[in-house]
Subunit: 204 residues, 4 copies
DNA sequence: GATGAATGAGTATTCATTCAT
DNA sequence: GATGAATGAATACTCATTCAT
């Protein structure tokens, strides 16, 4: 990595954090350079435009999440565990601040949308391979794997990464996953114990 | 309806159209009033702010789509047909211009997101009632109906209302729907014939 | 008073209160009519313009303060007591809310300035008569009475009605008043006991 | 002084002039930049807001007037002459245009008020030192000097810098000043000859 | 590699006032 | 006397981007 690259990486990290915390639209270039303690010119030396910077930030997020997914695949764990691991890798890596839901506040919709689009696109083949592994092991029985995987990713993201969810949501998700993949009942029920209950809505 | 209300409705329709065509962020108040041929003050007489207008536009869309769903429920058709009808009602009513994908261009993400959130919230109980009807008829067999319905709505929206889809997507969607509701295989396969193939991506 | 006049007086009172609390510039006609529960048209039926309303509000304030001064003159008290009484009448009549210093916040400067100008203009002849009375009684000895009175009013207002003042300010004020009017030392020292010490700044 | 500072000083001078001529509220940012021949952005690059610019303009005025007062103090003239000199320094430095009374038109009240407040605050200690000098010389005899000085400044400002004044006003002012400071009669009477009679109102 | 002064089109919002009913 | 819908000029401020040094 060249010398200039280092500065650029720093900038990306700062921007990533600010975009996540305050939203892309609500973060001005002025605010970024102020926090990074650099001049306007320096910013535009590294990035063609703010929008192009967003793309790079998103790529950075995707890369880190994809890498995590690839690590999971290479791990010596069961196929169902790999599935859950990859689904979990979709969760936005939490920064120092407890931001949680800021990603879903209207002002952050744009970035969230872009990340989700790209993430589903990159995770689909990875997760498909895992499913195929499961099919080969006789654990699952299904066709049209990529299409099933896409649905799995969408539902998982919508259920667990956006806002809160209930205990029933978990049960239905498990049931749906098993049926979608043609797995025997109970195959995926271990998910329940893994769920971070802190995001679960209080039972009234 | 009072005299002032009429003008307001006109404005809402114009804004609805413009927000859909060019996106909320890209539509300036100046452009709206120019097209509506009214003065700046008139706009702000009727709406507190541009954002509040967006809320009203969205409510208008939701209302029309909810109404459509309610009509479908009251129709003398089979339960599976009702389901498909309600799912279809989530599609944005096409205006005169052929806009199609503009709703999913980044600039429209905000409005799309807000509409989707509200729509799922309002359609869930309506569709749940239909599913219960199906359960009573012995057509379906499942618990946690609202949770299943929510997933159905999410998947249906993500599959058919966002971008393009393939033939396999349809098959998997049918399969998943049947399994999610505990229906016999083939119950929902009639969906395939109803799908507007013009949205289907060309087979490569 | 005619029927329409009553409504107008109500409006003036409301405006007086709002101008005092939030400042003239910061109070919009919309806010006034909203609080008064009347229509825009009604407002402009009673007042030619917002500025003309300000004049009327100020006249109202002046009138009430002038009236107070005239009552004091007719009272059966000593001349020095009358002087102090009239000087005190310059203090803005406190409304229900404890506003105090709002009159001196930048946004209220305009109204404060106008009131002060008019008040000095109307109080000068009244107070001059009292001083003449004192001269006749042999209590004071001075010429150019109106000019001295004007200075007295200015100093009194600047010292006691704007912000805070110290004990020394009181002493100097007493001293200056006596010398300005050619009174014997001690004639006005009773003022010290009358001062509302709540406005006095804490001794450090 | 840096390069950027120069442009800023230019802007301040232009604004100073415009605020004085047309009033702060009546001078729009658009008008300022048009006269300065700069872009909107340049204006906001140098000033956070119009209000903050006002503060800087005022500080500029205060500085120039304080500096004048300090020069007077160091001059080799008598104490009474110094006093008059400092009191004169409160007068707004006349710009090229003959503006005179614009400072006291309602629209200028805000700036005038702010300047007066700050000026009294900064001039009080300076003038107090001069008075102490006079006390040491045996010319004056008084205590509570800062309080007396404040009153002197207020009266002087109100009498000579706001609107017009009469011959009697001058006499009373001289008398009051002498008594306030405990000076011998006649000590300050030389003031009469120094007064710029052009501001004096015609004798009717 | 880095700086920071300059740009200018773009934006939402305010508000006193009018007038037909 | 009273209403309230309509007006439109005015205004402060934002912000991504450029470029000479």
């Amino acid at each position: 990595m060249k010398k200039g690259e280092k500065r650029k990486q720093e900038l990306l990290k700062i921007a990533y954090d600010m975009f996540l915390t305050r939203g892309y639209e609500n973060t001005s270039v002025d605010e970024i350079i102020e926090r990074a303690q650099i001049a306007k010119g320096t910013y535009y030396y590294h990035f063609q435009s703010k929008e192009q910077m967003l793309e790079e930030v998103i790529d950075m997020m995707i890369d880190s999440e994809t890498e995590m997914a690839e690590q999971i695949i290479r791990m010596d764990i069961t196929v169902p565990q790999k599935i859950v691991g990859i689904l979990s890798s979709m969760k936005p890596a939490e920064t120092e601040q407890p931001i949680k839901d800021t990603l879903f506040k209207p002002e952050n919709v744009l970035m969230h949308y872009k990340v989700r689009q790209k993430l589903i696109y990159t995770l689909t083949p990875l997760l498909s391979d895992v499913i195929k592994e499961g099919v080969n092991e006789g654990l699952f029985e299904c066709d049209n794997i990529p299409e099933r995987v896409k649905m799995l990713l969408i539902i998982s993201d919508a259920t667990f990464n956006e806002g809160t969810f209930s205990e029933q949501d978990i049960f239905v998700f498990i049931d749906m996953t098993e049926k979608l993949l043609g797995a025997e009942k109970g195959t995926m029920s271990f998910i329940y114990d893994l769920i971070d209950k802190s995001d679960m809505e209080a039972v009234e």
